[in-house]
């Protein structure tokens, strides 16, 4: 009988994705790009919010969008109508974008230096939490037409996000949604999360959101100029 032996692997199952993510992060840093990974449930108003954001920023900063969906190019088409360049990645049977797909998309899209790259993930609050894409921040979008307890039901995603946008606040007068409770739940799973109340439709809170984006883009850009100065 042949001998069995033990191999101590200690290999991270997501290690391959993490290595691709590290490569993406290096590409973004080298170009001074601010990359954001937008995550939410389907129907949170993510694409409408993104279109409005692009309208507000496109004359000030170079922008680019990677759209992840299981099927169709509908969302990328909507984005392109704003004049911002977008590429659609269909995951087929997959439930999330991974760092390898994003790396390819960045190459085909030709992201400009010092731009903001929005990566709109597949509408899913479970799977994308584990897959680092090389982004600077995950931005979770929660709309007031969902339950206040969503952060508790899907804690991994909200714990992994740096910012939460509470969207569709223009609808609050018509709903029983308790926004303070929703925010308390967000802080329960992530005491450090920054919360912004917005409405893509009425424009409420959008100035604060785009101001935050401009600040973060400036940070990404200054790391590039620091690196150039050091050369």
């Amino acid at each position: 009988m042949s001998q069995t032996r033990l191999i101590q692997l200690e290999a991270d199952i997501l290690g391959k994705n993490d290595r691709y993510a590290a490569v993406n992060r290096g590409v973004f840093a080298g170009k001074g790009v601010l990359a954001l990974n937008l995550v939410s449930s389907p129907g949170s108003g993510k694409t409408t919010l993104l279109c409005k954001t692009l309208e507000m920023l496109k004359d000030r900063l170079p922008l680019a969008v990677i759209e992840g969906d299981q099927q169709t190019t509908n969302d990328a088409d909507r984005i392109r109508e704003t004049g911002v360049k977008a590429i659609q990645v269909n995951t087929g049977k997959g439930c999330h974008l991974d760092a390898h797909m994003v790396g390819h998309a960045v190459e085909s899209l030709g992201v400009e230096d010092c731009s903001i790259l929005f990566i709109e993930n597949v509408g899913n609050l479970v799977c994308p939490a584990g897959f680092d894409l090389g982004e600077a921040h995950k931005v979770a979008i929660l709309s007031v037409t969902e339950g206040e307890d969503k952060p508790l039901k899907y804690p991994d995603m909200f714990a992994a996000s740096d910012i939460a946008l509470v969207n569709k606040v223009d609808l609050l007068p018509h709903l029983d949604f308790d926004i303070d409770l929703a925010e308390a739940n967000l802080r329960r799973v992530n005491p450090k999360i920054r919360i912004l109340r917005v409405s893509a439709r009425s424009g409420e809170g959008m100035e604060r959101w785009t101001a935050w984006l401009r600040g973060a883009a400036q940070m990404a850009r200054s790391s590039l100029t620091d690196a150039e100065a050091a050369e």
Binding site: S2, Q3, T4, R5, L6, I7, Q8, L9, E10, A11, D12, I13, L14, G15, K16, N17, G94, C95, H96, D98, V126, C127, A129, G130, F131, P151, L152, P155, D156, A159, N185, R187, R188, V189, P191
Partner: protein, 113 residues
């Protein structure tokens, strides 16, 4: 969640290891899965058998070591055990917790022939 694609990652790690360490058959695969890794252990077991077909780990025994979650409580300045991400500190009730364990998701070891 995405247990099938995790199983595909496990398969590719095993196949790489088979090449570098020179084995043809895996008898046992030991994984470490944290309580907060977002993995449904039963779904992982199901996916494992399906995905390993035709690989060195076909018919391998899957051993899953579940790692309980723990967190650093800032007010207590101590490590405490928690069940959920939204749990308060069991000692002082604070939510100022930093998760320190339970996010593991790795292949610990392989028993190979």
């Amino acid at each position: 969640m995405h247990e099938m694609s995790l199983c595909e990652n496990i398969r590719s790690i095993i196949e790489d290891s088979a090449r570098t360490s020179g084995f043809t058959k895996v008898e046992r695969v030991a994984l470490e899965v944290g309580a907060f890794s977002g993995v449904e252990v039963e779904a992982l077991r199901f996916g494992f058998d399906v995905v390993m077909k035709g690989s060195p780990a076909e018919a391998a025994k899957l051993e899953i070591h579940e790692v309980p979650a723990s967190a650093w409580c800032m007010p207590c300045a101590a490590n405490v055990g928690i069940q959920q991400r939204y749990d308060p500190c069991p000692a002082c009730g604070s939510f100022q917790l930093q998760v320190t364990g339970g996010e593991e998701l790795k292949i610990k070891e392989l028993e190979v022939v």
